[in-house]
C-alpha cells in the first residue's frame, strides 16, 4: 500500500516536474523575447541616437585658432602682427606642489623672477583648470632642452602658440590697445554675444583701443580638427580639418610716422594730441602721453610692471585724448565768437574797452582778464588774436547759458564724437538743466561768465576739441572721427574701404566763418598769442591758444607760476588747422601742467604740421627748446 502510494506520488512528481519544466521553458522564451525587444528598441528604434552618442564619445572637435588680423597704418606700416613661438604651459590644479615643480623646471629652462610674478598674476586672474604659460618665447635651444627632459615633467607642456607683437612698442599704445588673456568677464561677454564657440582655442582677446573695438574683425573664424580620441582623451588620428579663416587686416587712418613725431615732440611731458583730416574725419595722429609698452600685456603682465603702470602718478594707462576731460580754456573762444556773430549779438565792428576785468551789473565781483590792466580797445578780431577774456565774459553774459549750450552742442561738445574705439568720454557742456539735476541748484548769471572763456563747468576731451576744430576748418561739415579706413576681408580676399561719414553740416553764415577764420590765422602771426609757434612757417596756419585751470583761484589771488606746485600748474592747450584756405589737418594739443598754450602746446602743433605739410623732420630736442619760445608776455 505504502509502495503504491509512493509510485503514485512518484508519477505525480514526474508529472509535476515536467509541468514545471514547461513553465520554465516558457519563462526562458519570454525573457529572451524581452531581451530581443530591448535590442530592437536600442538598435533599431533608438539606433541613431546612440550612434550620435558614440560619435560624440570618440570625436573631439579641436579648435584651430585663426591668425589674428594685422593692424597697419595708413601707409601700410605694420603696427600689430603675429608670430609663432613656443611656450611652456602648466595647468595649475594638476599639481599639489606647484612651487616645487617650477623650481625643478628652472633647473632645465631659465625661469626669471618676472616669469614667476607673471605666472602668479595669471593664476589669480584665470580659472584653475586652464593651461597657463610659465615661460613664453622659448629659444630653439630651450625647446630642445625641455623636449629632452620632458619625461621629468608630466603635466608641463610645450605648446606652439601665436603671439601678438607691437613693433612700435609704446607708440600709439592707447589707440592700438592690446590683447591679453581672456578672463572671466570676457567669457561672460562672449557668451552673451553668442560667439563663445568661436573662441574655444583662443587665449587672448582685445582689451583696449582698436584691438578691443575691432575684436570681431580681427579675431577671425576658428577652424576645427575632428580628432578621434580614446576614453582617456588621447589623440588617435585626425579625421578631418576645417581651416580657420584669419581675422581681417585693418588699415588705420593713423600715420605712424606723424604719430611718432608728435609723441617725440612731447618729450617727457604729459598730454594729448589729436590730429584729424577735416575733409573726412581720418584721425592722423592720436597721442596720449605717457604711453606704455603694449607688448608687456600680451603674455600677461607681472605684478611689478602692473603696479608701476597702474600706480604711476603720470597715469600712463589713462587715454588722455579719448577720456581725459579738461576745461577747454580759451580754445573755446572761437566758437563763442561764432555764436555771437551767428546770433547777431556781435558785429565785427563792435568794440569794447577792456579795463582788465568784467563786472556783472549790481555785483562787485571782478572777473579778471589774464592781462592785468586789460587790452584796451578790443573788437572781435583782436579778442581772438590776443585772447581777450573780458570780451568773452561780456559776450557770454549777453548770450546766456541756453544759447551757449545749444550753439556749442553743434560742435560736438558735451557729447561723444562717435570715434570707432570704445571708452570715449562725453566731456561736459553745462546747461541750466544739467546744473539742476547734478547740483540741485539753479543756474546763476555768474555761472555763465567763466563759461565764456572755457572755464567754469566746461569740460572737453582733446578729441572733442580736435573734432570741433575740424568743423571750423572745413566750414561747417562734421565728419565722424575714425581710426579705421580699410578692412581687408581675409576670407573673400576683398578690401572694404570704409566711406567717411558726414554726420551733419552746420549752416553757418560764410561771412561770419570767414571773420573767425581770419582772426585764427592771425593768432599765429606776429602779435598773436601763438606768434612764436607760427614764426617762419612757409604755410599759413590758424590756431587758438588756451590755458585750462587746474586749481581754482580765489578772488584776489594771483597766479604765481614760479612758486606753484608743478602738478598744479595750468594745462596748456592749442587748437589749429592748416593750411588755412584748404585745411588738410586740424588738431588739438594738450600739455598737462604745461602752463601757456602759446609757449608749450603750440610748438608741438607746429612740429606736427611741419612734418605733415612739408615732410620736415624736427631737429633733435626741438620740443624742449621750443618751450622757451621767448615770448614773455603772451600769457594765454
Amino acid at each position: 500500500m505504502k509502495r503504491s502510494i509512493e509510485i503514485r506520488n512518484h508519477l505525480r512528481e514526474v508529472h509535476h516536474f515536467q509541468n514545471r519544466l514547461a513553465i520554465s521553458a516558457g519563462f526562458v522564451l519570454f525573457l529572451f523575447l524581452l531581451l530581443l525587444a530591448r535590442f530592437y528598441y536600442l538598435q533599431v528604434l533608438e539606433s541613431e541616437h546612440y550612434h550620435t552618442l558614440a560619435e560624440d564619445n570618440r570625436i573631439f572637435l579641436s579648435p584651430v585658432v585663426p591668425n589674428r588680423g594685422l593692424i597697419l597704418d595708413r601707409n601700410g606700416e605694420v603696427l600689430a602682427e603675429n608670430y609663432s613661438a613656443y611656450t611652456l604651459e602648466i595647468v595649475p590644479n594638476k599639481f599639489t606642489d606647484l612651487e616645487a615643480t617650477i623650481n625643478k623646471l628652472a633647473t632645465v629652462i631659465p625661469i626669471e623672477e618676472v616669469d614667476r610674478r607673471r605666472f602668479k598674476k595669471l593664476r589669480e586672474d584665470n580659472a584653475k583648470f586652464e593651461s597657463l604659460p610659465i615661460r613664453t618665447r622659448l629659444s630653439e635651444e630651450e625647446v630642445a632642452r625641455f623636449a629632452a627632459n620632458s619625461y621629468l615633467f608630466p603635466g608641463v607642456e610645450l605648446k606652439a602658440r601665436l603671439f601678438r607683437r607691437y613693433p612700435k612698442e609704446k607708440s600709439a599704445s592707447h589707440v592700438l590697445g592690446y590683447i591679453s588673456r581672456i578672463n572671466n568677464n570676457d567669457l561672460v561677454k562672449l557668451e552673451a554675444d553668442e560667439v563663445l564657440a568661436n573662441y574655444k582655442g583662443t587665449n587672448h582677446i582685445g582689451k583696449l583701443g582698436i584691438e578691443q573695438s575691432y575684436e570681431k574683425e580681427l579675431h577671425g573664424i576658428a577652424g576645427f580638427e575632428e580628432i578621434e580620441t580614446d576614453s582617456a582623451g588621447r589623440k588617435i588620428r585626425v579625421l578631418s580639418r576645417t581651416q580657420p579663416v584669419s581675422g581681417n587686416d585693418l588699415t588705420l587712418t593713423l600715420d605712424a610716422k606723424l604719430q611718432e613725431i608728435a609723441e617725440k615732440a612731447f618729450g617727457d611731458r604729459r598730454g594729448a594730441l589729436v590730429a584729424i583730416d577735416p575733409s573726412n574725419g581720418d584721425v592722423l595722429a592720436f597721442v596720449s602721453k605717457p604711453g606704455f609698452d603694449l607688448n608687456l600685456f600680451v603674455n600677461g603682465i607681472d605684478f611689478t610692471n602692473w603696479d608701476l603702470l597702474n600706480n604711476s602718478i603720470d597715469r600712463p594707462l589713462n587715454n588722455r585724448a579719448l577720456r581725459g576731460v579738461y576745461p577747454p580754456g580759451s580754445t573755446f573762444k572761437p566758437f563763442m565768437a561764432l555764436a555771437g556773430l551767428e546770433l547777431n549779438l556781435r558785429t565785427p565792428q563792435h568794440t569794447i574797452s577792456d579795463p582788465g576785468y568784467f563786472q556783472l551789473p549790481g555785483s562787485s565781483r571782478h572777473y579778471r582778464d589774464w592781462k592785468a590792466g586789460g587790452h584796451g580797445r578790443v573788437n572781435l578780431h583782436k579778442s581772438l588774436v590776443v585772447s581777450c577774456d573780458t570780451y568773452y565774459y561780456e559776450l557770454a553774459n549777453d548770450l546766456g547759458i541756453d544759447n551757449i549750450s545749444k550753439f556749442m552742442g553743434q560742435f560736438g561738445l558735451g557729447k561723444k564724437t562717435g570715434i570707432d574705439i570704445e571708452g570715449e568720454s562725453a566731456g561736459l557742456l553745462p546747461s541750466q538743466e544739467w546744473k539742476m539735476s547734478r547740483h540741485k541748484e539753479r543756474w546763476w548769471p555768474g555761472d555763465t561768465i567763466s563759461i565764456g572763456i572755457g572755464q567754469g563747468y566746461n569740460l572737453a576731451t582733446p578729441l572733442q576739441l580736435a573734432f570741433a576744430t575740424t568743423i571750423i576748418a572745413n566750414k561747417g561739415s562734421a565728419f565722424r572721427p575714425r581710426l579705421v579706413k580699410r578692412i581687408r576681408n581675409s576670407k573673400a580676399g576683398e578690401t572694404l574701404e570704409i566711406a567717411p561719414q558726414l554726420l551733419y553740416t552746420l549752416h553757418l553764415n560764410p561771412d561770419n566763418l570767414e571773420i573767425v577764420r581770419n582772426a585764427l590765422k592771425d593768432v599765429t602771426q606776429p602779435g598773436g598769442t601763438a606768434a612764436a609757434a607760427g614764426a617762419g612757417a612757409s604755410y599759413t596756419f590758424a590756431g587758438k591758444t588756451g590755458t585750462s585751470q587746474v586749481i581754482g583761484m580765489k578772488q584776489n589771488e594771483k597766479y604765481d607760476e614760479k612758486n606753484i606746485n608743478d602738478r598744479h600748474r595750468d594745462h596748456a592747450l592749442f587748437i589749429a588747422y592748416a593750411p588755412t584756405e584748404n585745411p588738410s589737418i586740424a588738431l588739438s594739443v594738450l600739455v598737462e601742467n604745461g602752463g601757456h598754450g602759446g609757449s608749450s602746446a603750440a610748438p608741438i602743433a607746429r612740429i606736427v604740421l611741419d612734418y605733415f605739410l612739408l615732410g620736415k623732420l624736427p631737429p633733435v630736442n626741438t620740443a624742449e627748446k621750443s618751450v622757451d619760445g621767448g615770448i614773455e608776455d603772451v600769457h594765454d
Binding site: 506520488n9 529572451f32 558614440a54
Partner: protein, 368 residues
C-alpha cells in the same frame, strides 16, 4: 550503448552529448572571436582563454564520465567541504577589492563560492531524491536551509552576484521539485516585503548600483558610467553592427570591463541586432538541449540537477545581457562561455559535464 563500437576514439566520445557539445563549441568560437576584438587583437589573452576553454572541456569530459551513482554519492561531501571552505574564507580569506572571496590553500587560491554554484543544486537534488514521493512541506524547508546556509556566508563576503545566482539555482530545484504555488507566491510577497531590510543590509556600492539602474545618468561618470557606455555601444551597433573589430566604443576604451563582464557590449556593437539574435539562438540551443536532457532524466536527482543547471545557465545569460543593455543592475555576472576568465568557464562546463553524464550514462532505476 553497444560494445561493438571499437573505434579508437570511442572512449573519448562515449559519454559526450554531441548536440550539446557542438552548441557549446559554436558559442565558444564566437566568444573567442569577440575576445580577440575586445582585447584589440591581444593574442596572448585569446590564447589564454583558449587554454581556459580546453581545461574546462577536459573537466567537462571527466565529469561526463562519472556515473550518476558516484555523482549522487559526491553531493553531500562536496557540499560539506564547500561549507567548510566558505567558513574558512570568512575567517582567513584574502581581502581583494574590499571583498573577502578568496582562500589561499597553499598551492593556489580558490574561490569556494564558485564551487557552491554546483554543490548547492546537487545537494538539494540529492535531498529531494532521498525523500522522493514522500515530499512534505518539511522537506522544502530543509532544502531551503541547505540553500540559505551558503548564501548567507557568501553575502557576508560580500558577493551579491554569486549569492543571487546560487539563490536562483536553489530556487530552480525547489520549483522543479514541485514547491506549491501558494508558497512561491508567499515567498515572492515575503521577498518583496523584505526588500527594505535587504536594502539596509546592502553595502554602499551595491545600493549605488541599484540606484544607477533606476537612473544611470544620475552618476554618469561614476557608477552609471558602465551602464551608459554599454547601452551606447549596443544602441550604436544598429542592425548590422559596425563590423568585427570596428566598434568605436570598445576600441577607444569607452567600454569598461570589455573583455569580461561587458564583452556582450563589444559583440553587440560590432554585430548589431542580427548578431545578437543569432547569439541568443545559439544559447537557446544549449538551453533547449539542457531542458530535453532534464525531461529525459530518469531519477528525481538527475531531473532536478539537469533542470537547475540549465536554468542557472540561462540566468547567467539573462542577468549579464540585461545588465549590458541597461535593464538590470550592474552585478558581477559573466556571460557564460564568452567572458574572459577561467573560473566561470570551468564552472559552466562542469555543469555541462553533469548534463552529459545524465544524458549518456545508462539508466538504472535506483529506487526499484
Amino acid at each position: 550503448m553497444s560494445m561493438t563500437n571499437v573505434r579508437p576514439w570511442h572512449f573519448l566520445t562515449r559519454y559526450i552529448d554531441s548536440f550539446l557539445l557542438l552548441s557549446i563549441l559554436l558559442v565558444m568560437a564566437v566568444g573567442l572571436a569577440t575576445l580577440y576584438s575586445a582585447t584589440d587583437g591581444n593574442l596572448s589573452r585569446v590564447t589564454n582563454q583558449a587554454v581556459n576553454m580546453a581545461v574546462a572541456l577536459v573537466i567537462m569530459w571527466l565529469v561526463a564520465n562519472i556515473p550518476l551513482q558516484y555523482m549522487m554519492r559526491l553531493a553531500l561531501p562536496i557540499y560539506v567541504v564547500g561549507i567548510i571552505l566558505l567558513i574558512g574564507v570568512t575567517l582567513f580569506g584574502e581581502i581583494n577589492n574590499g571583498a573577502r572571496r578568496w582562500l589561499n590553500i597553499g598551492i593556489t587560491r580558490i574561490q569556494p563560492s564558485e564551487l557552491m554554484k554546483i554543490a548547492v543544486p546537487l545537494m538539494m537534488a540529492w535531498y529531494f531524491d532521498k525523500h522522493e514521493a514522500t515530499l512534505r512541506l518539511r522537506d522544502y524547508i530543509v532544502a531551503t536551509m541547505i540553500l540559505l546556509l551558503p548564501v548567507l556566508l557568501i553575502l557576508r563576503q560580500p558577493d551579491l552576484g554569486t549569492a543571487l545566482l546560487i539563490i536562483f539555482s536553489g530556487f530552480y530545484v525547489l520549483f522543479l521539485a514541485g514547491l506549491s504555488w501558494r508558497i512561491i507566491i508567499g515567498l515572492l510577497v515575503a521577498g518583496a516585503g523584505s526588500l527594505p531590510i535587504l536594502w539596509s543590509m546592502m553595502h554602499g556600492y551595491q545600493k549605488k548600483r541599484v540606484m544607477t539602474l533606476i537612473d544611470p545618468t544620475e552618476d554618469a561618470l561614476g557608477a552609471g558610467y558602465h551602464s551608459i557606455q554599454s547601452t551606447i555601444a549596443v544602441g550604436s551597433g544598429g542592425i548590422m553592427g559596425k563590423g568585427w573589430q570596428n566598434g568605436t566604443q570598445a576600441h577607444l576604451d569607452f567600454l569598461p570591463e570589455k573583455s569580461t563582464d561587458f564583452i556582450f557590449a563589444v559583440f553587440s556593437e560590432e554585430f548589431g541586432i542580427v548578431g545578437n539574435s543569432l547569439l541568443l539562438l545559439l544559447y537557446l540551443l544549449v538551453i533547449g538541449r539542457g531542458l530535453v536532457i532534464a525531461v529525459n532524466a530518469s531519477t528525481q536527482f538527475t531531473r532536478l540537477v539537469a533542470g537547475s543547471i540549465t536554468l542557472t545557465f540561462f540566468t547567467y545569460i539573462f542577468v549579464n545581457i540585461g545588465m549590458v543593455v541597461g535593464i538590470l543592475p550592474v552585478v558581477g555576472v559573466p556571460l557564460p562561455l564568452f567572458s574572459y576568465g577561467g573560473t566561470s568557464m570551468v564552472t559552466m562546463l562542469l555543469g555541462f559535464g553533469i548534463l552529459m553524464s545524465i544524458q549518456m550514462h545508462p539508466t538504472k532505476l535506483v529506487k526499484t
